[in-house]
Symmetry: C2
Subunit: 211 residues, 2 copies
């Protein structure tokens, strides 16, 4: 759909635009100038214009941006006009936190089931999702449409689980295990490495980053 090469930096900013516009929508703001948006977001107005021009603009000279329209268009670019079935592997605190996060649903990500090996958890319900045994994982994936699997198991178990998920047909992996997964090219992996985030914080706290 968008043949032009979009830089990673732009793509990294889009979810933030989307979040800001969503906040404005909630406050019933109808339109906003790139100047106002830029002040809210602490990026330059020209950066915003440039970023959005990658996708054909959306702004009107002298009017600014229609918040609802821009929100919906950026949502489409991000693929949020689709519905994603999500499963979580690992019903520990992190898996439960993800399952309880209602915001995901609003954006089209539906947590359908959670898998764990702990017999005390199997059969329990976390929000809309039932905890099932890992033994049922293969059948579940083969019978149900699973777009994304979030992996919240210990790092030692993550590579095997991920390889199985992919073998059974999952194409999107949201990985929280502190390890990099080597998976086929057609699988999309998004990593959330919490310890690395904390290290970036300590790096900057220890005053060596003057950028």
């Amino acid at each position: 759909m968008y043949k032009k090469e979009i830089s990673k930096a732009v793509i990294n900013r889009l979810p933030r635009y989307y979040r800001y516009l969503g906040d404005l929508l909630e406050k019933d703001v109808v339109r906003i100038s790139s100047k106002e948006l830029s002040e809210k977001m602490s990026v330059t107005a020209s950066q915003i214009r440039q970023d959005l021009n990658n996708f054909g603009g959306f702004g009107q000279q002298g009017y600014g941006y229609n918040v609802e329209y821009l929100h919906s268009e950026i949502g489409k670019i991000l693929g949020l006009d689709k519905r994603y079935n999500v499963i979580i592997i690992g019903a520990g605190n992190l898996g439960q936190a993800l399952a309880n996060y209602a915001d995901f649903e609003r954006r089209g990500f539906f947590i359908k089931s959670i898998f764990d090996i702990n017999p005390n958890l199997i059969g329990t319900q976390i929000r809309n999702a039932t905890v099932r045994s890992n033994d049922e994982l293969e059948d579940y994936i083969k019978i149900n449409k699973v777009d994304i699997a979030a992996i919240t198991v210990p790092k030692e178990k993550a590579p095997t689980i991920a390889a199985e998920l992919v073998k059974w047909g999952v194409k999107g992996i949201w990985n929280f295990a502190p390890t990099d997964l080597n998976l086929p090219k057609d699988v999309t992996i998004e990593n959330v490495h919490l310890a690395e985030s904390l290290m970036k914080l300590s790096y900057r706290l220890s005053g060596k980053d003057e950028i």
Copy 2:
């Protein structure tokens, strides 16, 4: 200590180097060539050499890198030779997940206390940390050394809590609330925006990213 301007991209890669070297250490690997390291990490050997040259090299021609030494030096650059006292605001699933993550401690991040408003949680113990009432937060920060506060409260409450934390003396904020915090320049903020991470995944899954 390092006057040279280090790019954000390099800094973002350092925690990953640190993690890989830590994995090698656990496997008792003594030394590694930049070629081997590069294959493991899927970055080019010249990238690794360039990155590490920012900090004075560490490698020896024909020998490669001493894993333990490089691990420890990168640790120092990241500020991991220090000890950080961490508190968590919000004892929900996410706060509990962070409190239970033993890996943080190994790297010098000690979760000392968790604060919440839920009377059922106050007084309970999560690993090494006691859950305290938010009412005690001000006194706690003024009496104890708190280096980092992790914020895992709903987004509506995050800006107020963050402003208070900073007023009482906290300089490092690890923010999990899906909102940007406007705090004084001398405060270091590291954001973990889970919904945005999920949107980047859906963007790439919907096949518009051909980079």
